[in-house]
Symmetry: C2
Subunit: 96 residues, 2 copies
């Protein structure tokens, strides 16, 4: 998959198919709320498995029962690339 | 365990027994580096189990193979309390 940064229009188009995700500071980010802390950690591990398979890793933050997933592509100059939109779609398919 | 904020001297004393932990912005924080992403996630889950048992939850951040653990006590005015130093010691006993 290309490491080229997406254009703003390409990102907007991708976001139209990614409910809950935002594009700020050259990252795609979304937060999920679960019933408890261990559920949030289990979800983080699931996202980690998706990341490992792609060798493209989301940053993960867990605050009690909330998991925030944030992606950017360092090899694209720390911009949003198709690697990020594809991973975001896989994460949403797992967690939504 | 008390929810009273610790004094600066009490925190310094506790830190002398917590290698790698820092005290900034009314939080105790430390970062561990692992062999890979899934190992960092497994470590985060271990910290989560320690937190659940105490009903006192650390904030967890995973960036690829790094896990950052950050604790404060909201019921102590978001200051560092004995709940934080005790959890920090348990986390270090698990991960060091």
């Amino acid at each position: 998959m290309s490491d080229q940064p997406l254009t703003g229009a390409e990102i907007e188009l991708a976001l139209s198919d990614l409910p809950g995700w935002t594009h700020e500071h050259d990252r795609l980010q979304s937060t999920w709320t679960f019933d408890g802390h261990l559920q949030a950690l289990a979800a983080a591990t699931g996202v980690g498995l998706l990341s490992e398979r792609r060798n493209h890793h989301a940053d993960l933050t867990i605050n009690y029962n909330k998991l925030t997933v944030s992606v950017t592509t360092h090899s694209a100059g720390s911009k949003v690339s198709a690697k990020d939109t594809e991973l975001a779609q896989a994460v949403s398919a797992l967690l939504d």
